[in-house]
């Protein structure tokens, strides 16, 4: 798309967002929804300002949630890429591991949480385990697919050049899987954020999930909305950062 054609859309999308905020404000001011459940954007913003001010606890909770999300995601990504590469590179590992993975994969991460709690307690490692379990699948499957779908001609080129198995993996198969992996990593990060919040709600320690559930239980709706807004921002920003990284790494596809 041309630069000139993009600008009006930008304005339009910002306009829509502002319109929704305005509608929200009007709904709150007119009392269409009880203020106990729906604070106006003004009150939500005030709660945000207060939370980040000296003595507020939001900075702690935000960093905790981001840490949970990132650690869990990195763990899931490392495991996903390693296992995926193993599964994608050999028919035998596919045959051996495939059925087991197909059984485990559809299990909802939330169903795994009680199991994780039983083994790890209401702890940080439990939260990370649940996040890693939930967000490992897209990366694992994408890596396995990308590694297994190398152009056969390139395998012949590798044979003609007498590349070792390890060289084929790192110079051909994994780079070939990079577009798939990047898309999966982006999706996995979203899943990681969701599960970070779920884990924090269950574990009841620090983090935005914990803070949101406390706010909800005590009908502090501005705090609740402040938490939700922050989660939205975290999700939006992390996704945008990965999109930039993706565009850089895949510039060979361009033009």
């Amino acid at each position: 798309m041309k630069q000139g054609g993009e600008l009006p859309w930008w304005i339009a999308s910002i306009g829509v967002a502002l319109g929704i905020v305005l509608l929200w404000q009007v709904a709150a001011d007119r009392g269409w929804v009880s203020p106990i459940f729906l604070p106006g954007p003004d009150r939500a913003l005030a709660a945000l300002r207060e939370g980040f001010a000296a003595g507020g606890d939001l900075t702690l909770h935000v960093t905790t949630t981001i840490e949970h999300m990132l650690y869990g995601w990195v763990l899931a990504s490392v495991i996903g890429i390693a296992l995926g590469a193993l599964i994608g590179s050999s028919r035998r590992t596919r045959d051996y591991l495939g059925p087991t993975l197909e059984f485990i994969r559809p299990l909802p991460a939330s169903a795994i949480a009680p199991v994780a709690i039983a083994f790890l307690g209401l702890s940080q490692p439990m939260v990370l385990a649940v996040i890693a379990f939930g967000s490992v699948w897209p990366t694992l499957l994408a890596t396995a697919h990308g590694v297994a779908s190398v152009e056969p001609r390139l395998i012949e080129v590798a044979r003609a050049l007498r590349l070792s198995r390890l060289q084929v993996m790192f110079k051909i198969a994994l780079p070939n899987a990079v577009p798939d992996i990047l898309a999966a990593l982006r999706y996995g990060l979203t899943v990681a954020l969701i599960l970070a919040v779920v884990g924090e709600m269950l574990a009841g320690q620090e983090g935005l999930g914990h803070r949101i559930i406390l706010a909800a239980r005590s009908f502090r709706s501005p705090d609740l909305f402040a938490g939700v807004i922050l989660l939205g921002l975290i999700g939006f920003t992390s996704n945008a950062l990965l999109a930039v990284a993706e565009r850089r790494l895949l510039r060979w596809q361009g033009r």
């Binding site: 390139l154 003609a160 060289q167 060979w252 596809q253």
Partner: protein
């Protein structure tokens, strides 16, 4: 013709079946060191299979393929393969320089030495200006030049070329024919060149092997006594060239009848 030396590549009674079908039947052929041997024949005559056997990508059912007197058991670094589908044979995520680098990495050339060697190789195939471009940003002819550069990076004694110019337009084709002759002349390579273009085979080769299908077998071998260096106009107008062209053409026609 170049002086006859003991054969570098030998097919000694080679037969091969694939999927229950006899593809090649009792192939006997020797390729001399520094010879430029072209193989022609209609599609399905097993000429690509012949090349893949020489590359060590396939093993014969009976008989053996020899390289410098030893049986070929697999691919070797001194034997480079130029594939027809250059678009698929290049790594799309690596720049032109990176693609040449692959062969050097495979040979265990230290990182510090790769840069200058890559630059020299790209220079040799006329791609010095395109070192940082990705394959998708190169034309077909440039992509095939790049694949040739990667093969030259192996410092091979033998180039196996499987219809390398078949997908290129006529002009690009002729300039690449001349470039490959020049490169081979300079490096003293032995070449096995598969093509379905009779004129190309005569223009390039010291000998042309004509194959017939069902099962694939060698039907006739033509010596090409045309002087070198060859010239796109002069060589193609040479009465001997025209005579050979007619002979090969008749031969192929006869088969189709």
């Amino acid at each position: 013709m170049r002086p006859q030396a003991p054969p570098l590549i030998g097919f000694e009674g080679v037969s091969l079946s694939l999927g229950g079908r006899l593809i090649l039947d009792d192939i006997r052929l020797s390729i001399a060191r520094q010879e430029f041997l072209c193989v022609v024949g209609s599609s399905g005559c097993g000429k690509t299979t012949l090349l893949r056997l020489a590359a060590g990508l396939l093993r014969p059912d009976t008989g053996q393929v020899t390289y410098a007197g030893n049986a070929v058991t697999g691919p070797a670094r001194e034997v480079a393969v130029v594939f027809q589908d250059y678009g698929r044979a290049l790594l799309p995520w690596r720049s032109a320089a990176g693609n040449v680098s692959l062969a050097l990495e495979a040979a265990g050339v230290p990182r510090a030495q790769r840069g200058p060697r890559i630059a020299a190789l790209l220079e040799r195939v006329g791609l010095a200006h395109a070192a940082d471009r990705y394959p998708a940003q190169l034309s077909g002819g440039m992509q095939q030049r790049l694949q040739i550069a990667r093969c030259l990076a192996q410092e091979p004694s033998v180039l196996l070329m499987d219809e390398p110019f078949g997908a290129l337009d006529a002009m690009t084709r002729q300039s690449l024919q001349d470039e490959i002759l020049r490169l081979v002349e300079a490096s003293g390579n032995t070449v096995l060149f598969v093509t379905h273009d009779l004129e190309e085979a005569i223009y390039l080769g010291d000998r042309v092997v004509a194959m017939r299908p069902n099962p694939g077998r060698i039907a006739e071998v033509f010596d090409i006594p045309l002087p070198r260096p060859r010239h796109q106009l002069a060589t193609r107008e040479d009465p001997e060239f025209l005579r050979l062209r007619r002979a090969l053409f008749d031969f192929i026609q006869e088969e189709e009848r």
